[in-house]
Amino acid sequence: MTDVHPADNPSENPGERRAAYALISPAWVAFVVLLAGPSLAVVVLSLTDWQLGAPTMNFIGLGNYEQLFADRVFWKSFTNTFVYCLVVVPGSVFLGLGLALLIEGATFGRAFYRAAYFLPVTSTLIAMAVVWEFLLHPSVGLVNIVLEQVGITGGDWLKNPNRALFTLAGIGIWQSAGLNMVLFMAGLKAIPPDLYEAAEIDGASSVWERFRCVTWPMLGPATLFVTVVSGIRSFQVFDTVEVLTKGGPNKATEVLLYTMYTEAFNFFRTGYGAAITVVFLVVVLALTLLQVKAGEKRTHYG
């Protein structure tokens, strides 16, 4: 070993190169076999009429997509997924922001509040969905009993087609607000304290003024980022649907991943399920590009 600066001339250190290839090869193989291969295969499968276990497979071009876009259930599912996101994203983002502001501004108990509000994020959602099913029970559920006390008849939360999707969205907000809260807390910590002093000298004396002049503009990029991350997460809603409504009543809570799951894994219409996956993937990737853009903006503000 005479060369102490191997990095200066990469092509002239075969030992280092060989070691590097040995070190990366397991990851490379795993990437190709488990992620890249299957992700490309899903696009190819979406162009076939294949059903799992069937001996033949024919390329049918965009046939699955034509069928998909003509299917009323698919559009219902697609719309439902967006409606769900349009409720959960603003709900959990504003709740998360409000909690972060309230907790960070408190003089004591901050660690306690943060942990308590974060609890739903780490708890097993399937188990909590079963608990929610009991809480929302029309006659013996806690929600309706409490509403009864103030003279409101709660009714059925999961079997009423006008209400079921919003009930699931409520559970979605309950589950994800704590995550957005900690993301906002990270954003708040990055605001230099002297900005508040400067604003005060400039006459921003009330809490609201300081929020409007300093916190909100400085938090702007973080807000965009948290919104997109929430969008991506809520677009993947599946667990509560499978446990609580199975897409019903009357397709009122049919969402994209649930449709994909039933087509591909209950009816084994593999090609058709793959086409739904591709639509799902396109939306998520579009949102992710937005997130990357938001992330770039965020780093500018440091």
């Binding site: 590097a20 070190l23 397991p26 799992l52 708890s123």
Partner: protein, 278 residues
């Protein structure tokens, strides 16, 4: 935020936070409360946190005998442990090479890692299922573990960490005659403990709570992970025997909640990191 303001402000702030807390934590409190009550008190519309007649022993005994709850928890440990161990085995060497070694194709591999970060877990599900079906591996631990061995997030996180380790340390080790594997094993690994813990939190929370994949590949009750086991239990009960059912959900949710309460800071840090990733 500034930490001043009037007394009224303070009182209001805590009043709002505590009221919100009651709503956020109500499901947990009611779950525990119900798991202690006999059926007649569960079906009464009177609100009370503690039972008049305790039925905790009956409910929990029934929960443990009706379905193999401990087996579900054990499966959860086997699956999350297996996934994390294999993820480390694959990610650590690659992350070290990407951070510290110069070689042709390193930028291509890193681009692949970044692309991997963007692909949601459900996208490759169908072809993965077909692969396991062809290999005869459906309904096995392998089906639960193998698909998640490659972790783009793990490689990314560990690479970012290894980049902060000064090069001099490696140069000195090389002068002492250590090979790259030894440098990774004896010098980098002990340094990387905090980053590995953050990665561990994310990996374990993700796969302990994952429901989509176990639902697809597992049919046998004995192989159910905790979330899938919860569903089996619920279906068995047909949604009427709430006491034992809530006792079951207490048992299923307890491990992660206890882990969280024991290591809150690391948990929140870890999950914040993965939230950044999406």
């Amino acid at each position: 935020m500034t930490r001043r303001g009037s007394l009224l402000g303070h009182v209001l702030r805590h009043a709002v936070l505590l009221a919100g807390l009651v709503i956020m934590l109500a499901p947990f409190v009611w779950m525990i409360s119900t798991s202690l009550k006999p059926p007649n008190e569960i079906f009464s519309t009177k609100l009370s946190l503690l039972p008049t007649h305790w039925a905790a022993v009956e409910n929990y005994t029934k929960a443990f005998t009706k379905v193999p709850l401990l087996r579900y928890l054990l499966n959860g440990v086997i699956v999350t442990g297996g996934i994390f161990l294999l993820q480390l085995l694959v990610s650590l060497p690659a992350a070290y090479a990407l951070a510290k070694l110069r070689f042709k194709g390193s930028d291509i591999l890193f681009t692949m890692v970044l692309i991997g970060l963007m692909i949601p877990a459900q996208a490759p599900a169908i072809p993965r299922y077909v692969m396991l079906y062809e290999l005869g591996l459906l309904d096995s631990y392998a089906a639960l573990i193998l698909p998640f061995v490659f972790s783009a997030f793990g490689i990314f996180l560990m690479r970012q960490f290894f980049r902060t380790v000064p090069d001099d340390l490696m140069h000195a080790a090389r002068l002492d005659g250590l090979g790259e594997f030894e440098i990774l094993w004896r010098i980098m690994l002990p340094l990387a403990m905090p980053a590995m813990l953050a990665f561990g939190v994310i990996s374990i929370v993700t796969h302990w709570n994952d429901f989509f994949w176990p639902l697809i590949v597992i049919q046998t009750g004995d192989l159910a992970t905790p979330p899938l086991g919860t569903l089996f239990f619920r279906n068995e009960e047909a949604g009427s025997d709430f006491g034992p059912l809530m006792a079951g959900t207490v048992v299923i949710t307890a491990p992660l909640i206890l882990l969280f309460l024991a290591a809150q800071r690391r948990f929140i840090e870890g999950v914040t990191l993965s939230g950044m990733k999406g």
